[in-house]
Each structure stands twice: as structure tokens, then as C-alpha cells.
């Protein structure tokens, strides 16, 4: 690790994660993947983490988890083979880690293959997509639409909307169905409520619309009754008695 210790921080080899670092150490020490000298590799792994800490750089959690895994494997290998548990006797504590390393290496190789193709294809150009006028557009082909586009669009609308905060609630949580439930809940607690109080919690026009729709729906389903006791008086809402058990 001398080369690392004499290096300045930015010259440290770049590792994508703990598996990448482990593969590096395995190659560096020229050890066989199926027979990793776990004590040596663990020591070097921890030295690397110490080095990072000494340079006041944050060590990511994934690296610490792997450190714990390595120490655990090391301790298991130090234990004398268990006599009682025959099944575990043959199990090499390193096996799972080796499989993970090999699996990761497969995709590292595949990534290199992609990179080579990327390199090759970057030398090939085509015409910018244009429609009629010759101007490139920001339109999206329907077959290329993805949910990410849909959600990005939704987020865009919400950020632009003047009532941003309320809209977020609206789009996220408010549905006629839910609002119907809320109205019925209130009528479980109180015998009747006024029409106006229904909208107490509604801060946007849209929320009021939803509440109103919920009310209409409940009336249509004959779950509610509405009474106005005097002209221009308060409108009150009751639960429909026909649905009451008595």
C-alpha cells in the first residue's frame, strides 16, 4: 500500500465500491480468486479505509459493511472445524464472497464491452431528427415514451403551478374516493354537519371541486341526505337513515 500512502488524495485509485476494491487487491497480490488469503486481503482492505479516513474523506457505508463481512469471514476461518455441525464443516466461509466478486467481475467485463462499442459508435453521425421545417423539436416519439417522462412532466406542472404546495397534496393524495370516506368519517363522529364546513380544509379550488364531487357521489349513492331548514339558511348533511341498522 506504499504507493497509496505516498499519493496525494486525488491520485487514489478510483473504486466503484467495495467489490471493486477487493478485486483490485486480489489482482495486485496475484492471488487466486478461489483461494483468497483472507487475512492479508482484509488487512489491506482496512488499511485502505484508514488511509481514506486519514485524508478526511468520508468512507461510504457500503465499504464499512464489507469490512465487517471480511472480519466475520476471517474469524470463521480461524475457528477449528465444528464437530457437531457436519453440514457446515465443508462450507468455505469465503464461497459467498467469491461468487459475488465473480458476478461483479462479469458485469465489469460487460461494461468494458459496452464502452468499446460506445467508442466505436461515437465516430458515426446521423442527421438530427427534424420535422418539416427542418427545426429539431423537443417532441417525443410515442414508442419512446417512458414513465420517467410522464413523471417528469407531472413534476414540471407542479413546480410551475402557482399553488404548488397545495397541488402536491392534491395530486398526491386527493381523490374523490378518499374524500367520500372522509365525509362519512365525519358523520360517524357527528350526527350532522353543515355544507360549508365540508370545505374548511380545502385550500384550493381544485380541492373544493373534489370535495363537492365526493358529496354529489354520496348523494347519488343515497348515503347522505341534505336538508335546508329555512330559505337561505344553512344546508345540513346527515347520513342516510335507510342505511342505519335501526
Amino acid at each position: 500500500m506504499d504507493d497509496l500512502q505516498t499519493s496525494y488524495a486525488v491520485k487514489l485509485p478510483a473504486f466503484e465500491g467495495p467489490l471493486d476494491l477487493l478485486l483490485h487487491l486480489i489482482k495486485k497480490n496475484e492471488v487466486h480468486i478461489y483461494d483468497i488469503p483472507i487475512a492479508l486481503i482484509t488487512r489491506q482492505y482496512l488499511e485502505y479505509l484508514d488511509l481514506i479516513k486519514s485524508l478526511n474523506l468520508a468512507v461510504a457505508g457500503d465499504f464499512l459493511v464489507m469490512a465487517a463481512t471480511l472480519i466475520h469471514i476471517k474469524s470463521k476461518m480461524l475457528l477449528p472445524p465444528s464437530e457437531t455441525d457436519e453440514e457446515e464443516e465443508d462450507e468455505d466461509p469465503r464461497t459467498e464472497l467469491v461468487m459475488r466478486l465473480l458476478e461483479y467481475q462479469r458485469f465489469k467485463d460487460a461494461a468494458q464491452g459496452l464502452e468499446a462499442r460506445e467508442q466505436e459508435w461515437r465516430e458515426v453521425f446521423h442527421r438530427p431528427v427534424s420535422l418539416g421545417s427542418g427545426e429539431p423539436t423537443d417532441e417525443i416519439n410515442l414508442v419512446d415514451l417512458s414513465l420517467f417522462d410522464l413523471l417528469e412532466a407531472l413534476r414540471g406542472v407542479m413546480q410551475r403551478a402557482p399553488e404548488k404546495k397545495d397541488l402536491e397534496i392534491v395530486v398526491d393524495a386527493l381523490s374523490v374516493q378518499e374524500r367520500m370516506g372522509l365525509i362519512l368519517d365525519r358523520l360517524d363522529a357527528q350526527e350532522s354537519i353543515t355544507f360549508a364546513s365540508l370545505f374548511d380544509d380545502d385550500t384550493t379550488r381544485l380541492a373544493m371541486v373534489v370535495t363537492f364531487l365526493a358529496l354529489l357521489e354520496l348523494i347519488r349513492l343515497k348515503r347522505l341526505r341534505i336538508l335546508q331548514t329555512e330559505l337561505f339558511g344553512a344546508i345540513r348533511i346527515w347520513k342516510s337513515t335507510s342505511l342505519q341498522p335501526f
Binding site: D62, F125, L131, G132, D138, L147, L151, A153, A161, E168
Partner: protein, 193 residues
């Protein structure tokens, strides 16, 4: 550069450029090449395009050279453009679609309240593209039409049903994550070499 190489480079450059390029422009791109040679190679290229079976031509417009399609092909170009237009969606279309998808069934008024702009035309486009449909009328004042998404909508987005639409919360997980895991080092230089 050999004559035929020069012709090839000119064809490639004019193809990508898409707009007229003057002799000076081309001489700049082909640094060190004599403009008279460039002019000759362009002439050569023009003659190539005159042979049978070519759909392109070299035109001189606005003081420059440009590759364009031959006029005989225009009926098919128009047909292409029509098809392309019918399978494309604008940003505002996508926005409106997002609102319909997440708030359905929804009226035009409700869409406009959220977007803050008239949405009649966009809605019409979505109806034409069969991504959105009229699902009925809302009870109450004016009985406005209400809109929802179609089966084609699900197909485009690879969804089995509407319950598979990601919740906004889930999306935030994907879209608003910060690089919390910048690995332990400051990468030096170009990581992609």
C-alpha cells in the same frame, strides 16, 4: 487527401450539417485544403447525385452548398412527415397526459386549473393519438366531459393496469436522489478516458 476521400468527407459533412455551407465554411472544416480543390470535389459529388436511383441532390442556396432531397420524392416525404407527426407528443401533451393519468377521471376545467393554460387543443391531440379517451360526463353543473387514459396508454408505458403507475413518492426516490455515494475519493480527471 485523395480526390475520392475529399468527396467522401464533403458528403459526410454536408449530410450532418443540414444547412448550406459556403466554400469558406468548408475550407475551414477541411483545414489546409485548397478551395479550388473543394469546389471541384463538390462538382464531382453533384454529378454523383445525378445518377439514377439517387434520392438526394446537391443544391446551391444562400451562397452555400446543401444536400437536399429530390423534388420527385416529395409526396413520400410528406407522407413520412404526416406519420411522424401522428406518433409524436409535445411537452405540453406530455404534461396534460400526466395530469389525466394521475387524476383520472378528470375534466378539462380541472386540467386547466392545474396547468394554468387553455388545454383544449392538447387534449384533442391526445384524443387523436388514442392515449386519452372520454370516459363519461361528470354529474352536476354543465355535466362536463371527463377524461381518462386508454389501453394504448398502458401499452406505451408497459403497464398492466393503472395501479402500476408509480406513486409520486416513489418517483421522488428515483428522481431526486443525490449522489450520496460519491465513492471515497475525488475522481481525478476524466473517469471515462
Amino acid at each position: 487527401m485523395e480526390e475520392h476521400e475529399l468527396t467522401a468527407v464533403l458528403e459526410a459533412v454536408l449530410f450532418v450539417s443540414g444547412e448550406p455551407m459556403s466554400l469558406e465554411d468548408l475550407a475551414e472544416v477541411l483545414e489546409g485544403t485548397d478551395s479550388e480543390r473543394i469546389r471541384q470535389a463538390l462538382e464531382h459529388l453533384r454529378q454523383n447525385y445525378e445518377s439514377a436511383g439517387r434520392g438526394l441532390q446537391m443544391v446551391e442556396v444562400a451562397g452555400g452548398y446543401q444536400i437536399a432531397t429530390r423534388p420527385e420524392c416529395s409526396p413520400w416525404i410528406r407522407s413520412l412527415e404526416k406519420i411522424k407527426t401522428a406518433t409524436r407528443l409535445s411537452r405540453s401533451g406530455l404534461e396534460t397526459l400526466a395530469i389525466v393519468a394521475y387524476k383520472q377521471p378528470v375534466t378539462r376545467g380541472e386540467i386547466e386549473a392545474i396547468r394554468g393554460v387553455d388545454s383544449a387543443y392538447v387534449l384533442k391531440t391526445l384524443l387523436e393519438r388514442r392515449i386519452v379517451k372520454i370516459v363519461g360526463r361528470r354529474e352536476g353543473l354543465g355535466r362536463p366531459m371527463i377524461y381518462g387514459t386508454t389501453r394504448e396508454f398502458l401499452q406505451y408505458f408497459g403497464l398492466k393496469d393503472l395501479s402500476e403507475l408509480p406513486a409520486l413518492k416513489e418517483f421522488k426516490e428515483v428522481a431526486e436522489t443525490l449522489p450520496e455515494h460519491e465513492p471515497i475519493h475525488e475522481p481525478a480527471g476524466d473517469m471515462t478516458h
